[in-house]
């Protein structure tokens, strides 16, 4: 091991130590449980069941009881819902985050104030903001419906969170509202660290600002943007509170995390729930790898 490598590991040590300390047992335990029939009521009676939880008669996949097809089952549905939610909300958040970051990157009076204001949605605790939106979107005494009616945009008040055709998209909208600041802040940081002089070159070359954005800004902030997207994607794929608080918890909006929670906590099936978590872990991993591949991000290089 040469001295550089040694330095590298020295500097990695604190992180590795902490991560091993906090992550190995909880994650390892979950994966182990996914191969058992553990029940929360009596963990001492836990038996190893192999892949039963995944592919057994009552397993997540290849379950013969899914008479209406996999995607009609709660688990299948939760996968679909989550993917739908994630793709749409992460896409929207990225676009809006970019827009907001570009705005915050401009120099104008009151920028400090705007930068602070923009972060408000992210700063309010989710449990509160979700309930707040639930309240504001309420069909009867929600202020949003009231305004929409007052401005004549809709004739009758709409039950945004109740009607199945709106519920998922309402959740997406609230999620976009809530997490755009996350994106915006990270992208802003990236924008602020861009080298300035090549923008002057572009300016002199008469390159259209839009083109500069596409060809210079975007490629240069891409690494940071991708990290933001990946972490948003990770969060979105694990979405739970928002859906749980905002909508009716019927199957039409259940998410994978919601499914895990239901099986593990509400129903007490630690084993089965762990299997679902592990499956979720694999699905997230797959999505992340896909995102990294698609964005041609190179992790191991300079």
């Amino acid at each position: 091991m040469n001295s550089k490598t040694r330095t590298a590991w020295t500097f990695l040590a604190p992180m590795l130590l902490v991560l091993i300390l906090v992550a190995v047992w909880p994650l390892g335990r979950t994966i182990w449980f996914s191969f058992t029939d553990a029940n929360i009521n009596d963990l001492s009676a836990t038996k190893f069941v192999g892949f039963e939880n995944y592919f057994g008669e009552y397993g997540l996949f290849a379950n013969p009881n899914y008479t209406d097809g996999f995607f009609a089952s709660d688990w299948g549905l939760s996968i679909l819902n989550t993917l739908k939610f994630s793709v749409v909300s992460v896409t929207l958040e990225t676009l809006m985050g970019l827009g907001v970051a570009m705005l915050l990157n401009q120099d104008f009076k009151g920028r400090t104030f705007v930068r602070t204001a923009v972060l408000v949605p992210w700063a309010i605790p989710t449990i509160v903001s979700a309930k707040m939106w639930g309240w504001m979107l309420h069909d009867q005494f929600g202020i949003i419906n009231q305004w929409l009616v007052d401005f004549g945009l809709i004739a009758d008040k709409i039950a945004w969170t109740a009607q199945p055709e709106y519920a998922l998209w309402t959740v997406v909208a609230v999620d976009v509202w809530k997490t755009t600041p996350f994106m915006a802040l990270l992208i802003l940081a990236a924008l602020q660290t861009l080298p300035k002089d090549c923008y002057e070159a572009a300016e002199v070359d008469g390159v259209h600002p839009l083109r500069v954005f596409w060809k210079v800004t975007l490629p240069l902030i891409r690494p940071a943007l991708m990290v933001a997207v990946i972490f948003r994607l990770l969060d979105a794929l694990r979405v739970f509170d928002l859906i749980y608080v905002l909508t009716s918890n019927n199957n039409s909006t259940i998410s994978m995390s919601g499914f895990v929670r239901r099986e593990m906590v509400d129903n007490g099936y630690m084993g089965y729930g762990s299997a679902a978590s592990t499956a979720l872990f694999l699905i997230i991993g797959l999505c992340t790898v896909l995102a990294i591949k698609l964005s041609r991000m190179k992790l191991g290089e300079d």
């Binding site: 090549c198 002057e200 002199v204 008469g206 240069l220």
Partner: protein, 379 residues
């Protein structure tokens, strides 16, 4: 039309800072090749950036082709620029860097490719076309920056020390290419910043020499404007005289004695010199400064030659094609430099006698202003 006018242009970087550019007035004609020279930090890049539109103009006007451009965005000024700091796009290959500005005009891919190849060929960048800037050497980066400017066909070229990191051969070659390009386009004006006197002298239709430091506030930024030969032969001040020419002009304190028929008699370190200048306004006994270029002195034929003085060689530098001799006249006078052709046989410590023609001498009054020379000089 690509005439560039500076009208009373001033620049102050911060509200209370001294002026960086003070009252610059200057016209660069259509198709003219103008070189900016001046000490480091005198504001050459600043002037260039003001033409490009990258720097606000604190007061005064800059016009291009007769149109005031103070508030015109850079994109609409039709300029191409080589930045002193290159300003390459770090994520683009050499090819993309050079082609990027062209796409803007909607050139088609084939044409862009053709132009980029041609430029890369001139700049010897062809094998590097697919590299990123970070894998290039300093000089290679600089060439990419040049390439980016020359593929375009702008009204105005702005070159900020474009050759500083190139080796002599490549520098000569690129310099010729730039001159050729300028000649071919014909109507494009060019402003070119350089520290290389040879470059300035060989390329310029017009040289603008800028002042630095305290003097800027008092006398304005521009020290002299003129053809290369003007600045070499008729510097209007000590500052210009010392700045132009390498090795630089020797300066000796002198006392004015008398003037007659466009000629002045002065005394330097006890020796009498005739100088071909019009010194009618000087008074006898007044302090003055004599300037003589290292390349204009020769070894005196005899101890009694006119316009001559003895000196001792303190140091010799051999450049191959010439030698530089550093000479001491008296312990109190500044060391002076003598340039001799080829490789000399003179050794350190030897005593020699210098001679110089009256027509080759410069005289400056106690304000550092030059007295008009009365000889006719090549232009």
């Amino acid at each position: 039309m690509s005439r560039i006018d500076f009208n009373n242009v001033c620049k102050r970087y911060a509200p209370n800072a001294p002026l960086t550019i003070n009252n610059a007035n200057l016209t660069i004609e259509n198709g003219e090749f103008c070189v900016f020279v001046g000490p480091s930090g005198c504001g050459k890049s600043t002037l260039l950036r003001m033409v490009a539109g990258l720097e606000d103009i604190s007061s005064g006007d800059v016009s291009i082709g007769g149109e005031r451009v103070n508030d015109l965005p850079p994109a609409r000024r039709g300029v191409a620029m080589v930045f002193q700091s290159y300003a390459l796009y770090p994520h683009m290959t050499v090819r993309e860097n050079m082609g990027f500005g062209l796409k803007v005009f909607g050139s088609n891919a084939a044409e862009i490719d053709k132009k980029v190849r041609a430029a890369a060929d001139i700049l010897q960048l062809t094998p590097l076309l697919d590299r990123l800037p970070k894998a290039l050497s300093g000089g290679q980066r600089q060439r990419v920056a040049i390439g980016r400017a020359i593929v375009k066909e702008p009204r105005v070229f702005l070159f900020d020390e474009p050759l500083s990191n190139l080796d002599a051969a490549l520098r000569v070659q690129t310099r010729l290419e730039i001159a050729k390009l300028h000649h071919d386009i014909g109507t494009a004006s060019m402003i070119y910043v350089t520290h290389d006197q040879v470059e300035a002298m060989t390329l310029a239709d017009k040289i603008v020499l800028l002042r630095a430091g305290e003097d800027v506030q008092k006398k304005g930024s521009i020290a002299q404007i003129g053809t290369p030969m003007d600045l070499y032969h008729r510097p209007n001040s000590l500052f210009v005289a010392e700045f132009i020419g390498s090795p630089k002009m020797n300066i000796l304190p002198a006392t004015f004695e008398s003037a007659s028929h466009g000629s002045a008699q002065i005394r330097v370190a006890g020796h009498r010199f005739d100088v071909a200048v019009n010194a009618d306004q000087l008074k006898a006994g007044q302090a003055a400064t004599m300037g003589l270029r290292p390349e204009h002195m020769r070894l005196a034929d005899s101890d009694h030659s006119p316009n001559s003085l003895p000196a001792r060689v303190v140091h010799i530098e051999k450049l191959g094609e010439a030698s530089l001799l550093y000479l001491e006249i008296t312990p109190d006078t500044p060391t002076i430099t003598l340039k001799l052709e080829g490789t000399t046989g003179i050794r350190t410590g030897e005593n020699i006698r210098l001679q110089v023609d009256a027509a080759d001498l410069h005289l400056f009054d106690d304000q550092g202003e030059a007295l008009t020379r009365t000889v006719s000089l090549p232009v």
